[in-house]
C-alpha cells in the first residue's frame, strides 16, 4: 500500500516535471514562432531594399547586395521635405496636446465647478467619435477657415485629445492632496502649482502618451491624404502612398527602401526607449 502510494507519488512528480518541461518548450517555441511571423514583413522589406529588383520574388542567399534602392527612393520623391513636414506635424500636435490637455486634465482632477461631469462625458465621447471619422465635415470646416493644404490643418483636429485629458486626469488624481496643499500654503498660484507639483509627477504618463501620439500621427494617413495636396505640406505617409501607387506597377525594392527610410526614426526611437516606454505605461497607470 505504502510502496504503491510512493510509486504513484514519484510517477506523478516525474510526469509533473516533464509536463512542466513540455509546457516550457511549447511556451518558448510559441513566443519565437509568433515573433518570426510578426517580423516577416520587416525582414522582407530589408531583403528587397538591399537587393536588386530581380530578387524581389526570389530568395537567393547569394544575391548581390546594393544600396541603390535607397538612393533611387530618396531621389524619386521629396522625402527630405516630407520628413520635415512630418516632424513639424508630430511636434506641433504633441506640444499642443500636452499643454491643452494638462490644463484640462488638471481642472477635471482637482477643481470643482458646475457642469464638470457633463463636460467630462463630452471629453470621453471623443475617445469614440474621433476626428478620423468626421473627415467630410472637418474638411468643410478647414476650407471655410482657409486652412486646406496646411500642416496646421492636419494637426488642428487632434490638438485637444480626449485620451490625453483622460489619462492626465487619472494621473493627477493619484497625486496625494497633501503635496497640493503644502504648495498652496507656500502661496503657489494655480499655474505654479501645476507646473511645480503636478507636471513633474505626471512625466511618465506624458512620456507614454507622447510615444503613442507621435507614432499615431507619424503613421496617420486618411486625414492628411484628404487635407493636403502639395509636397510642401504632405507628411511621409501620404508621400509614400503617392510614390507607391503609380500606374506603372509596384517596384517593391524601391518602395520598401522608402518604407525603411520613413519608418527608420520611429523604429530606432522605439528600440532606444523600449524600457522606458513600458515602464511609463506601468507608472502611468494605463491598465
Amino acid at each position: 500500500m505504502t510502496t504503491t502510494a510512493l510509486a504513484q507519488d514519484r510517477s506523478s512528480s516525474v510526469s509533473l516535471s516533464s509536463r512542466l518541461e513540455t509546457d516550457r518548450i511549447l511556451f518558448v517555441v510559441g513566443a519565437w514562432a509568433l515573433a518570426l511571423v510578426w517580423l516577416l514583413p520587416l525582414l522582407y522589406a530589408v531583403w528587397t531594399a538591399v537587393h536588386p529588383s530581380a530578387y524581389e520574388t526570389r530568395f537567393d542567399l547569394l544575391a548581390p547586395l546594393t544600396l541603390d534602392n535607397f538612393v533611387q527612393a530618396w531621389n524619386a520623391a521629396p522625402f527630405a521635405r516630407y520628413f520635415l513636414n512630418t516632424i513639424l506635424l508630430v511636434t506641433m500636435i504633441l506640444v499642443a496636446q500636452l499643454v491643452l490637455c494638462t490644463l484640462a486634465g488638471f481642472a477635471f482632477a482637482r477643481l470643482e465647478f458646475p457642469g464638470k461631469n457633463f463636460l467630462f462625458t463630452l471629453v470621453l465621447l471623443q475617445l469614440l467619435v474621433m476626428p478620423d471619422i468626421l473627415i467630410v465635415r472637418n474638411y468643410a470646416t478647414m476650407s471655410a477657415l482657409g486652412l486646406v493644404d496646411t500642416i496646421l490643418a492636419i494637426g488642428l483636429p487632434y490638438f485637444a485629445s480626449g485620451f490625453a485629458i483622460f489619462l492626465l486626469r487619472q494621473t493627477f488624481k493619484t497625486i496625494p492632496k497633501e503635496l497640493d496643499e503644502a504648495a498652496r500654503i507656500e502661496g503657489c498660484s494655480l499655474l505654479g502649482l501645476m507646473w511645480r507639483v503636478y507636471v513633474p509627477l505626471a512625466k511618465p504618463t506624458m512620456l507614454a502618451f507622447g510615444l503613442v501620439s507621435v507614432s499615431h500621427h507619424w503613421n496617420n494617413f486618411i486625414w492628411p491624404l484628404i487635407i493636403t495636396s502639395s509636397a510642401e505640406t504632405r507628411p511621409l505617409t501620404v508621400g509614400l502612398s503617392i510614390f507607391a501607387t503609380t500606374d506603372s506597377g509596384v517596384q517593391w525594392s524601391i518602395i520598401n527602401a522608402a518604407t525603411l527610410i520613413t519608418s527608420g526614426p520611429l523604429l530606432i526611437g522605439f528600440l532606444l526607449f523600449q524600457r522606458q516606454f513600458v515602464q511609463s505605461f506601468m507608472r502611468a497607470g494605463i491598465k
Binding site: V28, L111, I133, P157, N219, F221, I226, T245, I255
Partner: protein
C-alpha cells in the same frame, strides 16, 4: 454666486474644449444636418431633401455590404488582437531568453505605417509568385488569389489589421501584468497549478480593466483602420472587402457626394456611440475610475 475656482476651471478648460467642440462635437452635429440636404454641385445649390439620403442608404447594397463587412472585421479583429496581444505580453513578461528582441518583434508593426506595409502584404498575398504561395508551393499546394477573390479578400485585410495592432495592445497588457505581484503566481506555481490554471484563476481577473480598455480601443480601430484597403483591394473585388470608412471616403472624396458621405458618417457615429457607451458601462461597473 460664481466662485473663483469655477472661473479658474473654465479658463483652464476653455482652449481644449473649444477645439474639442470645433472638431468633434460640432462637426458631428453638423453632419446630421448635412445628411438632410442634397450635395451642392457647381451651379446646383444644396436643397433640403429630408430623409432621402437615408432612404437611398438603406436601398444601397454597397452600404449593406460595408456594414456586414465591418461587422465581420470587428468581430474578428477585436478578439483576435486581444488574444494575441495578451499572449505576447505573457511571453515577454516573465523570464525568457531574448526578451528584448521578442518585445521588439511584436511591437515593430505598430511603428510601421500601415499604408507602406500594405504593399509588403500585397506581395505576400500575390497568387503564384507571392510569398505565401511560394511557401505553399513547397508543399505542393496550388496558388490562391488571396486578395483577388471575394471569399478571402476581407480576411486578408483583417489579418493585416491584427498584425498591425496586436503589438501595440501588448504594451498595455505588459504594463498590467507587471502590477500583478510575482509572489501570487509563484505561490500558485509551488502548489502545482499549471500555467493555464494560473492564468485563468489569477492573471485574467486581475487584468480585466486593461482588457476592457483595450477592447474599446480595438473597437474604434475596427472602424478607423482602413489605410491598407487603399493599397491592397480598394474595397474590391466587387466590394467584397469594402469597409464603412473606406466607403465614406469613396463617396465624399472620390465621388464628391458630400451629403451622402455625411449620411454614412451619421451611421458610423451612431454605431460608435452605442458600442462605446455600452463598453464604458461595462468598464465602469468593473473598475472605478472616479
Amino acid at each position: 454666486m460664481i466662485k473663483r475656482e469655477w472661473i479658474h476651471a473654465w479658463l483652464l478648460l476653455a482652449p481644449a474644449l473649444l477645439l474639442l467642440f470645433a472638431f468633434t462635437h460640432l462637426p458631428a452635429v453638423q453632419t446630421v444636418f448635412d445628411s438632410f440636404w442634397s450635395t451642392p454641385r457647381g451651379r446646383r445649390p444644396a436643397v433640403f431633401v429630408g430623409l432621402d439620403n437615408y432612404q437611398r442608404m438603406l436601398a444601397d447594397p454597397i452600404f449593406i455590404k460595408a456594414m456586414v463587412n465591418n461587422a465581420i472585421y470587428a468581430l474578428i479583429t477585436i478578439p483576435a488582437s486581444i488574444a494575441l496581444a495578451l499572449s505576447m505580453a505573457l511571453f515577454v513578461s516573465g523570464k525568457i531568453r531574448g526578451r528584448g528582441t521578442l518585445r521588439m518583434a511584436y511591437f515593430t508593426p505598430t511603428v510601421l505605417p500601415l499604408i507602406a506595409v500594405a504593399n509588403i502584404w500585397l506581395f505576400f498575398y500575390l497568387p503564384g509568385f507571392g510569398l505565401f504561395d511560394q511557401i505553399r508551393g513547397l508543399f505542393g499546394f496550388g496558388p490562391i488569389n488571396w486578395v483577388g477573390q471575394p471569399t478571402t479578400a476581407l480576411y486578408a485585410i483583417t489579418a493585416v489589421t491584427i498584425w498591425n495592432q496586436a503589438g501595440f495592445f501588448m504594451i498595455f497588457f505588459l504594463a498590467a501584468l507587471q502590477t500583478i505581484p510575482e509572489s501570487l503566481r509563484e505561490a500558485a506555481a509551488l502548489e502545482g497549478a499549471s500555467r493555464w490554471t494560473i492564468f485563468w484563476r489569477i492573471t485574467w481577473p486581475l487584468i480585466m480593466p486593461t482588457t476592457l480598455f483595450v477592447s474599446v480601443n480595438a473597437t474604434i480601430n475596427a472602424f478607423r483602420m482602413v489605410d491598407h484597403v487603399f493599397i491592397m483591394t480598394q474595397g474590391g473585388p466587387n466590394n467584397a472587402s469594402i469597409l464603412l470608412l473606406y466607403y465614406i471616403y469613396d463617396q465624399g472624396f472620390r465621388f464628391w457626394d458630400t451629403a451622402y458621405a455625411a449620411t454614412l458618417t451619421v451611421v458610423m457615429v451612431a454605431i460608435l456611440c452605442v458600442v462605446g457607451i455600452g463598453q464604458f458601462f461595462l468598464l465602469d461597473r468593473r473598475v472605478h475610475y472616479r
